[in-house]
C-alpha cells in the first residue's frame, strides 16, 4: 500500500493582519502551519498504513521553507517527503497547481506504484477545494470527496467503500483503486508525534524537486502562464456607508431601550410580527 498525501503550507490566517492604511497583508511574524484540513487526510492515511502496512509519502509544492510542513508530517509518521519547489511555479492557480502535483505524483509512481492519493478538503488560504479534484482528473483516478469514513478497503481486490458527505445525507460509494480521497474535517484526530519520529523528522533527507525532477513537460502549464485565472485587484471590504442607529433613551433603562428598539423595528418591518407568529406558537 503506497499512499501519497498532498499537504500545503499556509499562513496561520488567524494571525494575519491587514495594514489599515495600505491594505496590504502584514506577513511579518505570521507563522506558517500545515493546512489544518490536510491533517485529517494525513491521519486517515497513517491509519491505513497502521492497519495494512505500506508507505506514506507526503508531497508539497511551495517555497523552500515549506520543508517545515513536510518535516511536521514526518514527525506524525509519514515515511518520506517530497518538496516540489521552483521559481517557475510562482503564481500558479488551481489548474496549474493540480498539473504540477499530478506530474510529481507520476514521478513518484516510477519508484513505487501509488494506490491512493489524499488531499485536504480545502486550504485555508486558497480555500477553493479544487486542487484535489483537479489532480484526480489529471491522473485519471476515481475521485472521492468529503469522505467521512472508510468502511472497507480490499487491497487484493483493489476496491474501497467509503461514506461521502452529500448535501442532504451520506452516500456510500464503492470504487476501484487507485483513487483520490479528500477527507471531511472532524473525521479523525491527528495523533501526537512520537519522540522517535520527531528525531527522524529532524534528520530526514527531504527530496527537493525542481520542475525537471517533478517531470514538468510543458512549462506553459505552470506558474502564471499556466493559470487561466488572474487576480485583477485586491482590496479591503468597503465599510458600509451607514452605521448602526444607536438606540439611546434618556433614561437608559434596559426596558425603555428595548421598547424603543421594538417600536423602530416593527415600524420598519411590519411583516416581522407575522413571521414570528408563524414560527413561535402561542404557548411562548
Amino acid at each position: 500500500m503506497h499512499i501519497v498525501v498532498c499537504i500545503k503550507q499556509v499562513p496561520d490566517s488567524a494571525q494575519i493582519r491587514v495594514h489599515p492604511v495600505t491594505n496590504t497583508i502584514m506577513r511579518q511574524g505570521v507563522p506558517a502551519i500545515v493546512n489544518p484540513y490536510d491533517l485529517y487526510s494525513l491521519e486517515e492515511a497513517l491509519r491505513i498504513k497502521d492497519q495494512y502496512g505500506g508507505r506514506v509519502t507526503v508531497l508539497s509544492m511551495g517555497p523552500p521553507q515549506a520543508d517545515a510542513a513536510l518535516r511536521k508530517a514526518i514527525s506524525f509518521g509519514a515515511d518520506d517527503a517530497i518538496l516540489v519547489t521552483d521559481r517557475a511555479f510562482a503564481g500558479s492557480d488551481t489548474l496549474a497547481t493540480s498539473y504540477a502535483l499530478a506530474s510529481a505524483i507520476r514521478q513518484i509512481e516510477k519508484d513505487i506504484p501509488v494506490d491512493m492519493v489524499f488531499a485536504g478538503k480545502q486550504t485555508i488560504d486558497g480555500d477553493t477545494a479544487q486542487v484535489g479534484p483537479g489532480i484526480a482528473k489529471r491522473l485519471d483516478m476515481q475521485l472521492l470527496t468529503y469522505v467521512s469514513a472508510i468502511r472497507e478497503l480490499d487491497l487484493d481486490g483493489k476496491s474501497i467503500i467509503v461514506e461521502r458527505r452529500a448535501e442532504g445525507g451520506v452516500q456510500v460509494l464503492k470504487t476501484r483503486l487507485p483513487c483520490l480521497v479528500t477527507v471531511l474535517e472532524g473525521t479523525n484526530e491527528m495523533r501526537f508525534a512520537t519522540m522517535s519520529n520527531m528525531f527522524r523528522a529532524a534528520r530526514h533527507p527531504l527530496k527537493v524537486w525542481d520542475k525537471e525532477k517533478a517531470g514538468i513537460e510543458d512549462i506553459t502549464k505552470i506558474g502564471l502562464k499556466g493559470s487561466p485565472t488572474i487576480v485583477s485587484k485586491v482590496f479591503a471590504p468597503s465599510p458600509k456607508s451607514v452605521k448602526a442607529e444607536i438606540i439611546d433613551t434618556e433614561s437608559n433603562q434596559p426596558k425603555d431601550l428595548a421598547v424603543t428598539l421594538l417600536a423602530k423595528l416593527f415600524t420598519r418591518k411590519p411583516d416581522l410580527v407575522r413571521d414570528i407568529a408563524k414560527n413561535a406558537p402561542w404557548s411562548n
Partner: protein, 362 residues
Amino acid sequence: MSEANEPRKPARKKVELDPRLAAYKGVWVFVEHERGSVHPVSWELMGEGRKLADKLGVELAGIVMGPPGEDTRKFCREAIRYGADLCYLMEDNLLSDYRNEPYTKGMTDLVNAFQPEILLIGATTLGRDLAGSVATTLKTGLTADCTELAIDMENRSLAATRPTFGGSLLCTIVTLNYRPQMATVRPRVMAMPDYDEKRSGRTIAHPLGMIETSIVTKVLEYIPDNLQGKPQLAFADIIVSGGRGMKKPENFQLIWNLAKVLGAEVGATRPIVQAGWVEADRQVGQSGKTVRPKLYIAAGISGAIQHRVGMEDSDVIIAINSDPEAPIFDFATYGIVGNAMVILPALTEAFRQHLATARLAG
C-alpha cells in the same frame, strides 16, 4: 493557490479574445438536485445569472441532468420560471444519483457542444466536486466561493470577487483567455429571485452517451440525514446569535430564551462553537453558514470580518455590545451599547409583550 499568494500584477485591461473563444455565448447555471428537490443555491444563482446575461445581452440557460422522467423535466420548467430563457436537459438513468464521472462527462460534453461563456455552480459538496473536475477537464479557470459576480464590460469578462487571506481582504479574479469562465457561489450568498409562473422557454435535450459498465464508482446506499432537531440556519427567518461577549456557557441560555420567544434559530461565532457551547452547525460566518434572515440579533459579537461575511446580508441586524467601538456597529441596522446579560432579558420581555398584544389584536 495563487489567489492567496502576493497579489499579482493587475491584469492587462483590454484583451483581444481568441476568435474561437469569442464564439462562446450565454450564461449557464447548473441546476443541482438531490432526492427529488432542487438545491435553493441553484435558483439563487439563476437570479444572479439573469443579471449577468442581461448585462451581456445573451441568453440564460439552466442545465438539468437527471434520470428520465417527469421529476427531471419539472426542474427544467422551474429553471425557466426562476429566470432562464432555455434549459439544456440531459436525461439518463446513469444520472440518478450524483457521481463524479457521468456528471463530469455530461457537463463537459454540454459545454463543448453548446459553448457558454459563463458557467455558474453552487459551492456545495456536490457542486465543488463537479466544478473542480469540469474545470480541469476543460482546462479553464474556476473561481471558487465568490461573493460577488459582475461583468467587466471592457472585455466582456466575468469579474468574480471572493474573500482571500482568511477573509481579511477581497480579491477580484478574471479569466481572460479561457472559456467558459467558471465560478462557484455558496448557498445564501445571493438573493432568491422571484418565481414567475407565466415564464416559458425552450428545452434542448442532449444525450449522455455512457454505459453503466464504463463507470467505475457505484453508489451502494444513500443515508438521508435525520433533520429532526437539527439546526436549519440557512433558511431561518430570524436568528439570535451569541459571541464571546456572553462570557459563560450559562449566559448563553439568554440567547435561547430570546430565540424561543421569536421562534428563531440560535447562531454563534466560531469561538463559541470551538468552546463547545453549541453545535458546529450553528456557526455563522466564513467557515460556517452563510445566512440571510429577515432579522439577525447579535449579542456579544465583535463583528469580525469572518463572521460578518456570513450574516451581513440579513435584512435587519440588531447588535448588542458593551464596546461602542465594536466593528459590528459599523454595519448593524440598530445598535445597543450595553451589557448583553441585562439587555437580552429586557429585549426578550419586550418582544413577549409586543407579540402578546399583537396576537390579542388578531
